[in-house]
Amino acid sequence: MSDPMGFLEIARQKTAYRPVNERVKDWDYVGPKTLPLEQNLQQAKRCMDCGVPFCQSDYGCPVHNVIPEWNSLVGSGRWEEALKKLHATNNFPEFTGFLCPAPCENACVLNRDNQPVTIREIELAIIERGFEAGLVKPQAPREERRERVAIVGSGPAGLAAAQELRRRGFQVRVFDKGQKPGGLLRYGIPDFKMAKYVIDRRIEQMQAEGVEFSLGMSVGTDVSINDLQRDFDAVLLAVGAEAARDLPIPGRDLAGVHLAMDYLTVQNRVLSGEITSAAINAAGKRVAVIGGGDTASDCIGTARRQGAAAIYEFSLLPKPGDERGRETPWPLVPLTLKVSHAHEEGCERLFGVMTTGFSGQDGKVSQLHAVQCETKDGQLIKKAGTEFSLDVDLVLLAIGFVGADAKIASVTPGLVQRPNGTLAGDVNGMTSLPGVFVAGDARRGASLIVWAIAEGRRAADSIERYLHR
């Protein structure tokens, strides 16, 4: 039972990361090596079991985790049942547990006073304890069905759909262009945010459940969608939104100016042993990261560990305040200043700065040119006379994504790509090609992992309905 006074008697306590000077020396997870279960148990008691749990509404959790129910179970030490409840709505709580920005915590009623329940950490504690206790086991399908489903892409959306469909008895094969499954989860997310074994153990479980993987297969190149349509009863495109937004300004083609994801992927492949050395390396360099989001932070943390000499973060928008603005009352998501663990590890943050160009020598970037700007009536305006330049050796562009890789649409007649880069689907997520569905970032644009999981689960439902129509 939840304790109605818990939130008054127990203070919110977040789990501390390891000390900066220690953690920047390795690529391991920034947090502690072992999770503080007792602390999480106490923190779970802060949950008020709200009459209207905003955390599990659309303001909070896209997969609608039954947060009050598992908080209550954790609070009374019933971890195993909590895990069941958690898995009932979320196939991969460890992915979200490590990586989710936790809109649920924003929507938590206690966040009206900025003291939300530490929902994400509790989620992580539940699943990690589950793995430790050997509770996460393969689940055989209840019955075998003969229909075959091809899933293109092994990011969280593809994996969630694959697991759901397999557990319902379908014959599922996952295609991915990477050497290992996981997509951006594996190649985009630095190890210090989530170690790769976290993905591996899930893949093992899925393989044991009977999901088959075809890796190193690029759909559209190695195999066409038409082929898949022929060989499978349904196809799910969960190809992500990997087309990065570029910055077409003078000097963009200088060496040393890279897309963030290229940079991050290289480091990940080095760490996993796929390649031996990083072609893009920040060691000893002055690094400018352009963009202020999570990817930018990932670049900063990576550059720091590689031994960058200096790191700058350039944000276009003015510096947000610390407090929730009047125009975004709870439970809306406010625009406030976020300090990531990468920021804590050291970097100079510049706000309200527009990068206007790069210049360099010998084809290599050596300077970044920028101007300060401000917003007026919603328009971004350069402030005259504030132009400045900065010496840099490496520029990383982390300014978002513009949709799915255009190639797949271009080689697949009938597959419609919308102007915003996403692949078009109907209410059930089916594209104009019969039996071909789309889900995840490919359908809704770059978004959170938790949305990808939600999308994958919904796609599984749609596909099941489609195959049983």
Partner: protein, 1512 residues
């Protein structure tokens, strides 16, 4: 007869209720005189204020008189009509109402005569009864019948009983034939009386019109030794002549709550009864009790039939209206056995009742088991007995008074004119009990079912989760509801009302139970408190074949007594093993594959099988749905029960066997109530128990529990819940509840109701049998769909809390967020988004109004021309949420906001800090314009009342109609306790009823009292929507209210048990429409303002409500949301995290609401209203009210059930209706009281002491109240110095003597007073002394009626005599000395001191949580009369209890100095000896009711000794 009298729209004359006054006079010596008649008519006139008139002030609701057959008079006048009468015992006289048309009269006479002769009697002739029609009012005149007397000779009848049976036959046969011959005969042909020994004169008359209309009555030749009179208050302005009392045997003040069940049960018995009594005529006579008449008339029919079995009339009434004997430890074995024997024959006709009856020789009076109607009597030195609803109805010189007494609950008194004596209750019942060996009979024929250990019956249910799903269990229900009751033994309490859709609007599959709404008592009868007044409650049932009413105690089959109707499977097993009880078990399963037709067929077969089995001798029919699996679905249990029950009733077989239902469906008190209400005698909830076992196995229950204790808690909690449901309708025994059908169907088709739930009111058409079958089968299929893993079952739920994927909630996260965003940022655009959501434009409907839509008109008006928002917001109020329920911050912010916009906020039931009464600045006032008066009367002082613009009497509230509230101890902090005059940290209980409103005439009295206290305020009455509310509203309008508030069932911000929140009451749309239409039809709509509330949220809601008839609009939840409420539903836990529903100082700091946000909200709503008005072509809001033509029913798309609903009855517009134009206000202060004010001017103006002497009588009511209002207005709560005004009265005072008496006023009465003395006493002093000249033979005369000091906050009362029931009920500060009290003394008391120098009745100190009482324990049996629930007792000793002894001594001294009481003086002369006989009663010192969490409240138990210094 008249258009208005027929059912139309939502107006239905069958909901008519009545209340009234009764009186009687008997010459005990049997001397027949005209004086008795004259005096009886005088009594009638003095009861006028208990009756009522409608829109036509000259037409009374009915009045009449019953007399001995005046043989000498009749002999003479019959001769004048050419009839020669035989000896008195050889003929009967009848009073007959006929149509005025002569041809019809002739037809009737022909029939009547032929039927009379057919049964062997002699038709002697008829006489036109002379009347004076000029005295009649317009309405009465329009329907005036021709009145005849008929004379019928004994003929071949051998003895009196045979004569009476033949008279009955002649009358009933004639009625049936004439009814068929001429249409509407029920209205125009009526035999008011036909008897050898009595005669009735009655009609649609005012009391004073009776004697002038019936010329006979003033004829000095007309004599009688006894007479009973009745003055009626009907909730209908079209009362009928025939419905006036007295009936043939009795007159009745009160209401039979279980009437539907009683009539059905009589139907079940009538085959055997009729055969026994009437042989060959039996078939022709049925039904023996006509259902189309009033409850009192039905009761009269029943009495008549029992008399015809050879019983005396008093015996018949003891059988029908028994005392509460089960828990009465004062009854001897023989009387208990007699009562038990009667209980096996007949279920009680349950409800408030004062019954006056006569057979022409004996006249008796009886009260119901709870004593809810008063009866006072006087015996004079010349052996005349006067008895009536009030004392003082006939002036008797003081020196001729011998006894002043009153009847106690369940008592009966008989005056026998042949034996020339009064037969007391004790003698009467003891004599009756001695007539037969009932003790031996009970031993031989009744066996008790031994409870069995639940553990034994623990069982293995296959596929538990699928079965649970098939019976619509949800995970939420298991983990919240079932787990809660299994752990605590109490039903789950939650708060913030119900914002989920009605079952018929839900997108989800719901149980049939969800379509049945519990009905509850309001105004015309009181709900009961099943906890504090447990002594009248009983769940006992007798299973088996019941005895025949017409036969003597027989050696019939065995009856098994069960103490609770909820049985475990083990207990059922035991029952089935009893050899003498033939049991048959019938399965209610069917194959879902056979579909809708299959379920229908299975039900038919089930009914046929049951009939067959009973015909073959089964005494117990067990219906069972065990064995549900993929191939077997269950017929909805209540459908199966009701179908079998009604068929057995119809065939006259129902008393031969009882029905037990063994079902997986039932698990909540509501389910049990439905099943029993539709005829099951017991329920076996096997799946609920298995589910508890499941919870237990999963570790979902506390580790400290055992399975055994969990089951016991579940059973106990369910029984408590069941008692609560019964008691909210005022029903005390399960026997009466069984089959009583106290439900309203919402969303079932008329066909389905008529076929299987006949007699249940159903106002909106909905699901047919086929729809219901489809819903059942669909749910079953989904539950057994193998592709769905069983771990996913049952479904999540979301019926209480919002759950993603669960039931829809009107307050979705989006709706809450949008509204908060809109009002906090002042954004109308965001409000518009909210409104779209809330008006269900984007989602499925959650409320009936979402199915209605304003019809945009072609002639729109310009928005600028529409009445401004600033005017519209004045029609808005905020709900009655007490300071205590919500925090001071929230309460005051609402008041400030409403005062600023000219709307009204409401104090709620918790008083208000006087510091708030005066505005701080022109724009800042924290005074709540509406001051609520609820059943707890917390903080209701005369000062409080005088600071109201509107005084609201809360009869019921949407979240828990028929129940009282409780403020848990942890919410009672210093401030709250101060305002409520109670102790911090101690829980406060509001009684379910107002103890001064047990009937409609009581409500009229309270309205009169409140208007006397503050004539400037309007008085509103808050009702909750249910079938029949229209009739209640008419009564309320006739009682003088200015405004009627119709609350919906689903609002309510207070804490309440789940089954009340979900299953009691109806939506406001239906109630509002019914009230509006019924008032229009009754031509009373112009007298009252109508307000409605219950989850109103948007301008569209307001527009729909206005079109349905509302003038004003209440909002509660929405303004709280605006203040930051996020529907935590934790109000009852004091842990509201946003500082609204909490008193915790830490949490209160979190409150972030602002008056400006609330103002924003109301202006947004008003602006939305304006845009709709523009579309509707309406410029002035007043023109929108009642315009049902401007709204229509919206078609709903999709698969939902809503499309089955037919809302056209809501849109009915009565024809021939006056447009409401005037607001009458209606109150004129009693000139008597007004003259007191005038004569007290010196004291009022400059505090010059005034002493006045007056005579007084029972028509002078609320004496001193108007004056007290004047004092409070001038001098505030402190009033005047002591003895500023001394009023000396002599005589018998009317009701509410000294109500709200202000400080500085002493009301001295030599004589006696009626009910409600010192109601709301606010500092004044009341002294009552019986006249010295009286020759009392009892040592303690009764000088005060019932319900004294109700809600008194300060002041004192000294009475040298005894008082009635509920003395000092909810007293919170007054001091009282009295010399005897009736039952329920000091009930719910929270403060003050009560000294009783004499006998007390039973159930003393029930619910007493504060104050102290000292009782002189004269017979040493006080402990048997105490309700020890909340109190502890100790004997006083001079040595050990100095403070107590000093206080007691001081109070007795004061008593002597005020009253010169001889009794008190005697005590003082032997003080030391008497002290030891006093028992001190005070709340338990461990603060049993205070919560552990209340650490933030320091208990400050006040020193009693200190306080007495300051009292006057």
């Amino acid at each position: 007869m008249t258009l208005q009298n027929q059912r139309q729209g939502l107006y239905d004359p069958r909901f008519e209720r009545d209340g009234c006054g009764i009186g009687a006079i008997v010459n005990m010596r049997g001397e027949r005189t005209h004086t008795v008649v004259r005096q009886a008519l005088m009594i009638l006139q003095n009861l006028r204020h208990r009756g009522a008139t409608g829109y036509d002030a000259e037409t009374g609701d009915g009045a009449g008189i019953i007399l001995q057959k005046p043989h000498d008079f009749l002999l003479e006048i019959a001769e004048g009509s050419g009839i020669s009468l035989p000896a008195a015992s050889d003929y009967a006289v009848g009073m007959v109402f006929l149509p005025t048309e002569e041809s019809q009269q002739q037809t009737i006479w022909d029939t009547f005569q032929s039927q009379t002769e057919r049964v062997g009697l002699e038709w002697l002739g008829t006489r036109v009864v002379p009347v004076d029609p000029s005295v009649l009012g317009e309405a009465a005149s329009a329907v005036q019948p021709a009145v005849f007397q008929i004379f019928i000779g004994r003929g071949s009848a051998r003895d009196e009983l045979a004569f009476n049976r033949s008279l009955y036959l002649a009358r009933r046969l004639s009625e049936k034939i004439i009814g068929a011959q001429i249409g509407g005969a029920n209205e125009s042909f009526h035999v008011a009386s036909l008897s050898v020994s009595t005669i009735v004169y009655k009609g649609m008359l005012l009391p004073e019109q009776v004697s002038s209309y019936y010329v006979d009555l003033t004829d000095p030749r007309l004599t009688s030794a006894l007479a009973a009179v009745h003055s009626r208050f009907s909730t209908n302005t079209f009362p009928a002549w025939r419905l006036a009392h007295p009936f043939r045997w009795l007159c009745h003040n009160g209401e039979i709550n279980t009437i539907r069940g009683n009539v059905n049960w009589f139907r079940a018995r009538e085959v055997s009864l009729a055969n026994e009594l009437f042989g060959e005529f039996a078939e022709e006579l049925r039904p023996l009790i006509r259902a189309d008449q009033s409850d009192s008339a039905c009761l009269d029919d029943a009495v008549e039939l029992l008399v015809l079995t050879g019983r005396s009339v008093d015996e018949a009434l003891r059988l029908l209206v028994p005392e509460a004997w089960q828990k009465n430890s004062f009854l001897d074995q023989a009387r208990r056995a007699h009562c038990e024997y009667n209980a096996t024959l007949m279920e009680p006709w349950d409800g408030p009742a004062a019954l006056c009856f006569t057979d022409g020789v004996k006249l008796g009076v009886a009260l119901d088991r709870s004593g809810l109607r008063p009866c006072r009597y006087t015996v004079t030195t010349d052996d005349t007995v006067i008895l009536a609803s009030e004392a003082g109805v006939l002036q008797v010189p003081a020196d001729r008074v011998k006894v002043w007494g009153k009847l106690r609950p369940g008592e009966m008194m008989l005056i026998d004119t042949k034996q020339h004596r009064i037969i007391s209750d004790f003698d009467l019942k003891s004599e009756a009990a001695a007539k037969f060996d009932y003790v031996g009979w009970a031993e031989r024929h009744i066996t008790q079912l031994e409870p069995r250990d639940p553990q034994i019956s623990a069982e293995n249910i296959l596929e538990l989760s699928r079965q649970q799903a098939a019976f619509a269990y949800t995970r939420e229900e298991l983990s919240m509801v079932l787990a809660s009751i299994a752990q605590s033994g109490d039903e789950l309490v939650t708060s913030m009302g119900d914002d989920t859709p009605l079952a018929i609007l839900s997108q989800r599959s719901r149980l049939l139970f969800d379509y049945l709404k519990q009905q509850f008592a309001q105004v015309t009868n009181p709900p009961i408190d099943p906890l504090r007044e447990d002594m009248v409650m009983s769940l006992t049932m007798y299973l088996g074949t019941k005895g025949n009413l017409a036969a003597p105690p027989s050696s019939s089959a065995l009856l098994v007594k069960i103490e609770s109707p909820i049985l475990t499977p083990g207990e059922l097993d035991s029952l089935e093993r009893i050899p003498a009880l033939k049991t048959c078990k019938l399965s209610t399963l069917f194959s879902p594959a056979t579909g809708v037709a299959g379920m229908r067929m299975a039900l038919c077969e089930l009914v046929d099988d049951a009939v067959k089995q009973v015909r073959c001798g089964a005494a117990l029919v067990v219906l069972s749905d065990r064995g549900v699996d993929a191939a077997h679905a269950a017929i909805p249990s209540v459908l199966a029960v009701s179908a079998v029950h009604h068929e057995l009733v119809k065939l006259g077989l129902r008393t031969r066997a009882d029905i037990i239902i063994e079902t997986g469906e039932a698990r909540s008190p509501h389910h049990f109530a439905c099943l029993i209400g539709y005829g099951a005698a017991a329920v076996v909830p096997y799946l609920a128990l298995a589910s508890i076992q499941g919870l237990f196995a999963n570790g979902d229950l506390a580790a400290t529990l055992t399975y055994d204790s969990a089951v016991k808690s579940f059973l106990k909690g369910s029984q408590k819940g069941l008692l609560k449901i019964m008691s909210k309708m005022g029903i005390t025994t399960l026997q009466s509840y069984c089959g009583a059908q106290i439900f309203e169907a919402l969303g079932l088709s008329p066909q389905l109701v008529d076929d299987f739930f006949p007699g249940t009111s159903s106002r909106l058409a909905g699901l047919t049998f086929d729809d219901l079958a489809r819903e059942t089968i669909g749910r079953h299929r989904q539950s057994f769909d193998r592709s769905r893993p069983s771990e996913e079952l049952p479904l999540p739920g979301g019926f209480i809390h919002y759950r993603f994927g669960g039931e829809q909630h009107a307050w979705s996260p989006e709706a809450i967020a949008k509204l908060q965003q809109a009002t906090a940022t002042g954004s109308f655009a965001a409000y518009a988004d909210f409104s779209k959501l809330a008006n269900a434009e984007m989602a499925a409907p959650t409320a009936l109004r979402h199915l209605l839509t304003p019809l945009k008109q072609r002639t729109k008006v310009d928005l600028a021309a529409v009445e401004p928002a600033a005017e519209i917001v004045k029609r808005f109020t905020t709900g009655a949420m007490s300071l205590g329920a919500i925090s001071q911050e929230s309460h005051e912010a609402l008041a400030i906001a409403m005062n600023r916009i000219g709307g009204k906020s409401n104090t709620g039931e918790g008083g208000e800090d006087p510091a708030r009464f005066q505005p701080e600045s022109p724009t800042l006032s924290r005074n709540s314009a509406i001051k609520q008066v609820a059943s707890g009367r917390f903080g209701v002082t005369v000062h409080y009342l005088t600071n109201a613009d509107e005084i609201q009497i809360k009869i019921a509230q949407g979240a828990k109609p028929g129940e009282g509230g409780q403020l848990p101890g942890h919410k009672v902090d210093q401030q709250i306790a101060k305002l409520r005059h109670s102790t911090p940290g101690v829980q406060l209980i509001s009684p379910p009823p107002h103890h001064d409103i047990y009937s409609i005439e009581d409500l009229a009295q309270l309205i009169f009292d409140l208007k006397s206290a503050n004539p400037r305020a309007r008085v509103s009455v808050k009702l909750v929507s249910e079938a029949g509310i229209g009739a209640v509203a008419v009564g309320v309008a006739k009682a003088g209210a200015d405004k009627i508030l119709v609350a919906g069932d689903n609002g309510g911000t207070g804490a309440s048990p789940l089954s009340s929140i979900k299953h009691a009451g109806a939506p406001w749309e239906v109630g509002l429409a019914e009230v509006h239409q019924t008032l229009l039809v009754n031509r009373l709509r112009d007298r009252v303002v109508i307000e409605t509330d219950g989850q109103l949220r948007t301008g569209r809601d307001v527009v729909i409500a206005a079109a349905l008839g509302a003038d004003e609009f209440g909002f509660s939840t929405a303004p709280l949301i605006v203040q930051g409420c996020i529907m935590m539903r934790k109000c009852h836990l004091n842990t509201c995290p946003v500082g609204i529903a909490t008193q915790d100082p830490v949490l209160r700091k979190r409150f972030s609401g602002k008056p400006e946000h609330v103002i924003n909200y109301f202006f947004f709503v008003a602006e939305e209203v304006r845009t709709w008005m523009a579309d509707l072509g309406i410029t002035s809001f007043a023109d929108l009210v009642g315009r049902t033509d401007l709204i229509g029913q919206r078609r709903v798309e999709g698969p939902g059930k809503a499309r089955h609903l037919d809302l056209s009855p809501l849109l009915h517009k009565p024809q021939l209706t006056p447009k409401f134009t005037k607001r009458s206000g209606g109150y004129a202060p009693d000139t008597y009281d007004d003259s007191l004010v005038q004569q007290c001017r010196p004291a009022l103006d400059d505090r010059t002491p005034v002493v006045l002497s007056r005579r007084i009588n029972n028509a002078r009511r609320a004496t001193g109240t108007l004056l007290s209002g004047e004092v409070a207005r001038r001098y505030g709560a402190d009033g005047l110095p002591d003895n500023s005004i001394t009023l000396r009265f002599e005589g018998i005072a009317g009701q509410s003597f000294g109500a709200f008496l202000a400080p500085g006023i002493t009301a001295n009465l030599i004589g006696a007073a009626n009910d409600y003395v010192g109601k709301g006493l606010s500092g004044g002093r009341i002294v009552i002394i019986p006249p010295k000249q009286a020759q009392f033979i009892d040592d303690v005369p009764v000088v005060i009626g019932n319900t004294t000091l109700y809600g008194a906050t300060s002041g004192s009362i000294y009475a040298a005599g005894a008082a009635g029931e509920r003395f000092a009920v909810r007293n919170s500060g007054a001091f009282a000395v009295v010399e005897g009290v009736g039952d329920h003394g000091c009930e719910y008391m929270t403060g003050g001191v009560v000294v009783v120098l004499g006998a007390v009745g039973r159930n003393f100190a029930a619910g007493m949580s504060g104050g102290v009482a000292y009782v002189l324990d004269t017979d040493g049996l006080f402990h048997l009369r105490l309700n020890p629930g909340l109190v502890e007792t100790s004997r006083l000793s001079v040595a050990g209890d100095e403070a107590d002894v000093a206080l007691l001594r001081q109070m007795i001294h004061r008593h002597i100095s005020h009253t010169q009481s001889a009794r008190a003086q005697a005590i003082m002369t032997n003080w030391e000896w008497h002290v030891a006989k006093f028992v001190k009663i005070s709340p338990k010192s461990d603060g049993a009711s205070a919560s552990k969490k209340s650490v933030r409240v320091k208990s400050t138990k006040r020193s009693v000794g200190h306080e007495v210094q300051s009292h006057v």
